[in-house]
């Protein structure tokens, strides 16, 4: 009997969890007191905040899951030797290739952080990782298409967004290659010269390990996603964007305002084009381009996730580099807009 119980102890644990979740999904609500009464002790503005917070999580969680699964695959199936063989020796080539790979790889700005972290841990140089990190969320078919649509079926803004984004990524990645030598990961591990896994474990074991890794990665990155989403929702509920918009006057200051807005709103790169377009009749196109290029590269939500993966000093320098590069970039292309 005891033996039988032991053999099935996992099943019973699972069943218990299943029951607990079932309770919340199907039953808990009927015991609930009406929403009106609840708002007595929970202010309505907190309910708004919570709704925005949850919506950000619902929107981003599928892509974070895809991100952690890919990160898990990299962890288990890609070895340091692979990276050494694939990565061009030349720094410029490495940066260019990583930016192109990022452009080909569809990802969002939160899903890409675990992937890049894993790549860098596997020995990808930090500058190449940054190139990939910056172009991944910005340059992909979904973003191009939504930008094209949001600006009234006009390709001009979409094309500028991609070109400028690519240029900024190259510049920032290059600057990182000059400024930082080590891998800049939070725990600062070094890359071992040889893989300890000399004997290849069975295929199933490797798959399980990959999935276990993905789960741990989800919990690792997830807490930063939750915090970032909560801050973004807080800003949206309690900070009037008016106070930001009031600063915007000239091209320079309105571009800064739009970049600040992109940072605080933390919109997904697939969804921000429409919001950007809505500022058309208020700000010059230059400022809107700044919003569109900066947002996918850096925002409140992904800064927190990056802080979870990289050293604080590195994240701070990277943020400044991106901001300066984007600002200089849009100012440089201003005469053609």
């Amino acid at each position: 009997m005891i033996h039988w119980l032991r053999a099935r102890v996992i099943d019973f644990t699972g069943l218990a969890i299943l029951c607990a979740v079932f309770y919340f999904v199907f039953i808990a609500d009927s015991f609930d007191f009406p929403a009106m009464e609840r708002s007595w002790f929970i202010p309505p503005s907190f309910l708004s905040l919570n709704t925005i917070f949850l919506s950000i999580i619902i929107e981003s969680v599928p892509f974070v899951l895809i991100g952690v699964l890919i990160a898990g695959m990299i962890q288990i199936f890609v070895t340091e030797d692979h990276i050494r063989r694939w990565m061009p020796r030349n720094r410029f080539w490495a940066i260019l290739i990583s930016c192109i790979l990022g452009a080909l790889f569809p990802a969002c700005e939160c899903g890409i952080v675990p992937i890049v972290r894993r790549l860098i841990a596997k020995g990808v140089p930090v500058y190449a990782g940054v190139g990939f990190l910056l172009t991944g969320p910005l340059i992909n078919p979904v973003v191009i298409f939504s930008t094209y649509m949001a600006f009234g079926n006009n390709a001009k803004i979409a094309v500028w967004r991609m070109l400028l984004g690519f240029a900024v990524a190259l510049v920032v990645a290059f600057a990182v290659s000059v400024l930082f030598k080590k891998n800049q990961l939070k725990h600062g591990q070094t890359i071992p010269t040889s893989s300890p896994a000399a004997v290849r474990p069975a295929f199933r074991t490797r798959w399980m390990a990959m999935l276990h890794h993905s789960i741990d990665e989800f919990f690792d990155m997830g807490k930063y996603l939750m915090l970032g989403a909560f801050f973004a929702a807080f800003v949206q509920t309690y900070v009037p964007s008016k106070s930001l918009l009031a600063i915007g006057g000239g091209v320079g200051s309105s571009t800064m305002v739009m970049m600040g807005l992109a940072y605080l709103l933390s919109l997904c790169s697939e969804a921000d084009a429409f919001i950007g377009a809505s500022f058309r009749n208020m700000f010059p196109t230059t400022a809107i381009l700044g919003f569109l290029v900066f947002g996918p590269m850096l925002d409140l939500k992904n800064t927190l996730m990056m802080l979870g993966a990289f050293r604080t000093q590195f994240v701070a320098v990277l943020a400044v580099l991106i901001a300066v590069a984007v600002f200089a970039g849009v100012m440089a292309v201003h005469p053609w807009l």
């Binding site: 996992i10 644990t13 699972g14 969890i17 979740v21 919340f24 999904v25 929403a35 309505p44 503005s45 309910l47 708004s48 925005i52 949850l54 950000i56 619902i58 929107e59 599928p62 892509f63 899951l65 288990i76 894993r118 596997k122 649509m149 949001a150 009234g152 006009n154 591990q189 300890p196 004997v199 474990p201 074991t205 390990a209 999935l211 741990d216 919990f219 807490k223 939750m226 509920t237 900070v239 964007s241 008016k242 918009l245 600063i247 006057g249 000239g250 091209v251 919109l267 997904c268 969804a271 921000d272 919001i275 809505s278 500022f279 009749n281 208020m282 700000f283 010059p284 201003h334 807009l337």
Partner: protein
């Protein structure tokens, strides 16, 4: 067999995420969070969570048989030493002990689950609109910014035809003299055809106005051919966008529109905005769109009241920006629609 509390907790959290997403879809409440057009993604996520739950469940009890693996693994905080080499494995595998930090991490992850299961979603209302402020085709913000806006929103007289810089462009000293020039209100209507008020002057601006106009020409034609413009959930976004871009093309047209009442501090007693929230992906990217409406009973209406109005389109300036206005001649209160949001049409 050793019970792994943290691993079990992870399994519970994974399944709870699946459960929360399932509940929102099942009850239809998902529409209060995201644009249902993209609901397939959260459904996929829900299935992935269930799958990961079953994977994670295996870790809830550690096997004694593999004790020699784990003796090493647990010491290093690594669960599978064969495949997880120490180099790349920098995260917590949940086999380490409890600390305040790990407890806080689980609390943060579980937070959306708790609020998601226990708190009802809230439809965005006028107070959120006030924070969101000036999004799509919405009146320029409060008076404090009017002075700042003035220079950029009013097109400069054709003083510097070849210069693409806006009047107060701050990049060159040769342009500083433009800053001093007071914008001439007379030119407002001249350049208004462009509709792109925020943009620079001269030939380039006109060309650009032309491009915008080309983009919208089909829509403009369609709208001007209509005897009266009747906005509904489907056409709300594209019609509003077009009319706001080219207000003077629709002056005198009859219009019917419904939305919630939204007011700004700078507005007069007779003014209000009939607004809707536009959702691209999720309520976080919601923006306010709508029309400025004007009639003598407007002051009586409380914000967040849903109304349907009829009237004639005109052009007005609000905070020095040109925009369409509806001179209302008939209105009624209505029930808030089942789906209060509008969505961009792709």
């Amino acid at each position: 067999m050793k019970f792994q509390f943290q691993q079990t907790l992870k399994a519970l959290i994974l399944l709870a995420f699946a459960g929360l997403l399932f509940k929102l879809h099942y009850s239809g409440e998902i529409a209060k969070y995201i644009n249902v057009k993209y609901s397939i993604w959260s459904q996929i996520a829900s299935v992935m969570f269930v799958f990961l739950f079953f994977i994670q469940l295996e870790r809830s009890w550690s096997h004694r048989q593999r004790a020699h693996d784990h003796a090493h693994a647990e010491a290093d905080g690594v669960d599978d030493p064969h495949v997880c080499d120490h180099a790349g494995c920098d995260h917590d595998h949940g086999f380490s002990g409890w600390s305040l930090k790990t407890a806080a991490a689980y609390a943060v992850i579980a937070f959306p689950l708790i609020t998601g299961f226990l708190l009802p979603p809230k439809i965005l209302d006028a107070s959120v609109a006030a924070k969101k402020g000036t999004l799509l085709a919405q009146p320029k913000t409060g008076n404090e910014s009017a002075a700042d806006h003035q220079k950029t929103t009013l097109p400069e007289p054709l003083s510097d035809r070849t210069d693409a810089m806006p009047p107060n462009g701050n990049t060159g000293s040769n342009r500083t003299e433009l800053n001093v020039k007071e914008p001439n209100p007379d030119t407002l209507t001249d350049n208004a055809a462009g509709g792109e008020a925020a943009d620079p002057s001269g030939t380039e601006a006109e060309e650009r106005a032309g491009t915008w106009e080309d983009m919208y020409s089909e829509e403009i034609e369609k709208l001007t051919d209509l005897p009266s413009i009747d906005l509904n959930d489907q056409n709300f976004v594209s019609y509003t966008d077009t009319i706001h871009f080219f207000p003077e093309k629709f002056a005198g047209k009859r219009i019917k529109i419904s939305g919630f009442v939204y007011k700004e501090p700078g507005m007069s007693e007779e003014q209000l905005v009939v607004a809707r929230f536009i959702i691209t992906h999720c309520v976080a990217d919601a923006g306010v769109i709508g029309f400025l409406a004007k009639w003598n009973e407007a002051g009586r209406l409380q914000k967040d009241t849903w109304i349907e109005i009829q009237g004639t389109l005109g052009v007005t300036t609000y905070d020095d920006a040109e925009m369409p206005v509806i001179q209302v001649d008939g209105w009624k209160k209505i029930q808030a629609p089942k789906d209060p949001y509008v969505y961009p049409v792709y």
